[in-house]
């Protein structure tokens, strides 16, 4: 039997790994922040509430109520836009900071973050110039990351040797050292020079750290390395590498599958059964579990336990058929309705309109299948957009409610009844209400288009999953029939 999943898993790992933290946080340097308006925007920045941070920021700017001496006002604004996914706006502000008469430190930090933006878009020449311009005046705390970015820029140009040299300039205690080590290792694998990459991945795979991002990186390195050993028939090395992956982490399924293959390919079927049994009992909507359900009876067959093998193939065939029916049903559903009808997005929002949500599913098999699908990396951006659109819808509704309340106050409160500006307030309020309505209608249309897009992508992904299940089903049926044939021959 071809172990197809591990080939796919291996290939998908050979991509440059860029730490999430790079995009998730802009660490503006500490300053004396005296003005509460500014400090409040800063609070929104840290609690990942960029929308309210930006609204407050623009409002305070317009009211001229931000401290004049806060030189990094624009840096904070650019950071908020960056984190809110409005990269072009962030880029323009960073460029303006560099062009304007700002202190050298502020310009250096702006260039530093521009380099990050260019890493995101994969633009090596622009990244190089931004890094050069940020090298002086950058705070010491950003030095390791600066070196890391230089290494990444070289990797964008496929200059692995130069990237490798950068590692010497990064403190071995810094997490940037391990991020760059992983990427250098992965780049060597990608350029078909795995021997050179091996030592880097081994280094990351044995790092001693307790932070979540470091542990995930460590698992990822061990998975990449494990599948590399597997492909190169170094089964003992593969097994010991897979065993280093945490069982409760996101890579545990891939590790269990690989561990089974490492033993199985070394003809140690008895040991292969252990990880595959664990995996087979997990949620069958996962591709790795589907493969384990095919691999496990294969191992039993190899151990001459035909009866057990037959029973397991039968069980797997039944499961694949159920899955195929579910996928057919899901495909029909996804062509006619919104996928968001199947999952529950907890709509509890706090006072700031920040969604506290985690996507949940109701308890049916179909919902679980959809959840597995949407949890895949390729849907992350679409889900983030969906969440942002929902937050905007909620905001507009609240603003409209408030505007009605304001209109009531204007009409009925003694304070406003004889107010000289009452008429102009009323006029402005009507204008605002009109604008809210206009944006609401635009948003409704956009939500519809977005849902259609998600629907199309879901259909495509479901179709792909269906092909996998069909392939497993056919392999399981074939192996089952073969076993039956063998049994019949023995009987004769």
């Amino acid at each position: 039997m071809r172990n197809s999943v591990f080939n796919i898993a291996f290939l998908s790992l050979i991509v440059l790994y860029v730490p999430k933290a790079l995009y998730a946080q802009i660490n503006l340097e500490e300053r004396s922040l005296e003005n509460l308006n500014y400090q409040e925007v800063y609070y929104h920045f840290f609690r990942k509430d960029e929308f309210n941070g930006l609204v407050n920021f623009h409002h305070a700017m317009r009211q001229d109520s931000l401290p004049a001496k806060a030189e990094d006002k624009e840096l904070l604004m650019a950071g908020l836009y960056y984190k809110y996914g409005l990269f072009n706006t962030a880029e323009n502000i960073f460029k303006k900071i560099i062009k304007d008469n700002n202190p050298a430190f502020t310009k250096a930090v702006a260039n530093f973050y521009l380099a990050k933006l260019y890493l995101r878009s994969g633009d090596a020449p622009l990244m190089s110039s931004a890094l050069k311009n940020s090298v002086k005046h950058l705070p010491e705390s950003l030095e390791n990351e600066h070196q890391y970015l230089q290494g990444m820029q070289m990797l964008l140009l496929d200059d692995i040797k130069s990237a490798e040299k950068r590692l010497k300039n990064i403190s071995k205690k810094s997490k940037w050292y391990f991020f760059l080590s992983f990427n250098v290792g992965a780049a060597y694998f990608k350029s078909k020079n795995p021997d050179a990459g091996e030592k880097y991945l081994k280094r990351v795979g044995s790092l001693n750290h307790d932070q979540a991002d470091m542990l995930a990186l460590k698992d990822k390195a061990n998975i990449t390395l494990g599948y590399y050993f597997l492909r190169n028939e170094k089964y003992n090395n593969a097994a010991s590498t897979f065993e280093k992956v945490r069982l409760q982490g996101p890579f545990s399924n891939k590790a269990l599958l690989g561990l089974g293959w490492a033993y199985s390919n070394a003809s140690d079927y008895r040991n292969a059964i252990i990880p595959w049994s664990t995996l087979s009992n997990k949620d069958t909507t996962q591709l790795t579990v589907q493969e384990a359900r095919l691999a496990l009876p294969y191992a039993y067959k190899k151990l001459n336990s035909e009866a057990q093998s037959l029973a397991m193939y039968e069980d797997s065939i039944e499961e694949y058929e159920k899955l195929k029916t579910d996928l057919d049903e899901m495909l029909l559903f996804s062509q006619s309705a919104s996928v968001f009808d199947l999952i529950v997005i907890d709509s509890s929002y706090d006072d700031y309109g920040i969604s506290q949500e985690i996507i949940k599913h109701r308890d049916s098999r179909l919902d679980r299948l959809m959840l597995t699908l949407l949890n895949e990396k390729s849907f992350q951006k679409l889900l983030d957009e969906h969440r942002d659109l929902r937050q905007l819808q909620l905001k507009l509704s609240n603003w409209f409610k408030n505007s009605k309340f304001m209109a009531m106050r204007l009409k009925n409160t003694p304070e406003f009844r004889k107010h000289p500006d009452r008429r102009s307030y009323m006029k402005s309020l009507h204008k605002i209400q009109k604008r809210i309505k206009k944006q609401k209608s635009k948003l409704t249309k956009l939500v519809q288009s977005h849902e259609l897009l998600v629907q199309a992508k879901v259909t495509k992904a479901l179709e792909k999953k269906r092909q996998f299940v069909i392939s497993y089903l056919s392999q399981a049926r074939f192996a089952y029939a073969e076993l039956l044939d063998k049994a019949a021959v023995v009987e004769q």
Binding site: Q39, W399, L443
Partner: protein, 177 residues
């Protein structure tokens, strides 16, 4: 015995080319929608700033406003987990802090904990802070403060400070004029 059927190459090529064109179409559509979302976000942020200005004028009466902010100065001796705010014996706000918010406080952020309209005169404000102190010891501290509501927007800031000599946190109220 069941045998696998071979799929003709021409059908496979056709299937792959259809898949590829669908993929390209989807990528174009995704990019188009992402741009529309970005444009809309900009417009709504701008609108939000105008709504906020309007709210400031019409939603509250500036004269009867009281705003309570929370910030931290150093904050090495106390890790804030949650806060409860009581004004005149009524619980008006509570908040549980995520790690990123705690980091924000350490970097100089301030949270608008509560904003309300209050009548003139004296009011009692009680804030209860829960968290961990030195050597990870659970800690609960209360602060009582008499606010004199005047005929203007009264702003108070509760600052959590480190009392290094006594190795414990200090809760200080600062009036912002």
């Amino acid at each position: 015995m069941i045998r696998k059927k071979k799929i003709p190459v021409s059908i496979l090529v056709l299937f792959l080319s259809i898949l590829l064109s669908i993929t390209n179409l989807l990528a174009d559509e995704e990019e188009k929608i992402a741009k529309q979302i970005a444009d809309l976000k900009h417009s709504i942020i701008e609108l939000g700033s105008d709504v906020k200005a309007m709210e400031k004028l019409l939603l509250y009466s500036e004269k009867s406003l009281l705003s309570v902010y929370l910030s931290m100065d150093a904050g090495q001796l106390f890790e804030l987990n949650d806060v409860k705010l009581v004004i005149d014996d009524k619980e008006v706000a509570s908040h549980r802090y995520a790690d990123r918010e705690k980091l924000g406080f350490q970097k100089g952020a301030a949270q608008l904990l509560y904003r309300t309209e209050l009548g003139l005169g004296e009011h009692e404000l009680v804030a209860v802070f829960s968290g961990t102190g030195v050597r990870n010891r659970p800690m609960k501290r209360g602060l009582t403060y008499k606010v004199e509501k005047t005929n203007q927007h009264n702003i108070i800031e509760i600052v959590i400070k480190d009392d290094v000599s006594k190795q414990r946190p200090q809760f200080v109220v600062r009036k912002i004029e």
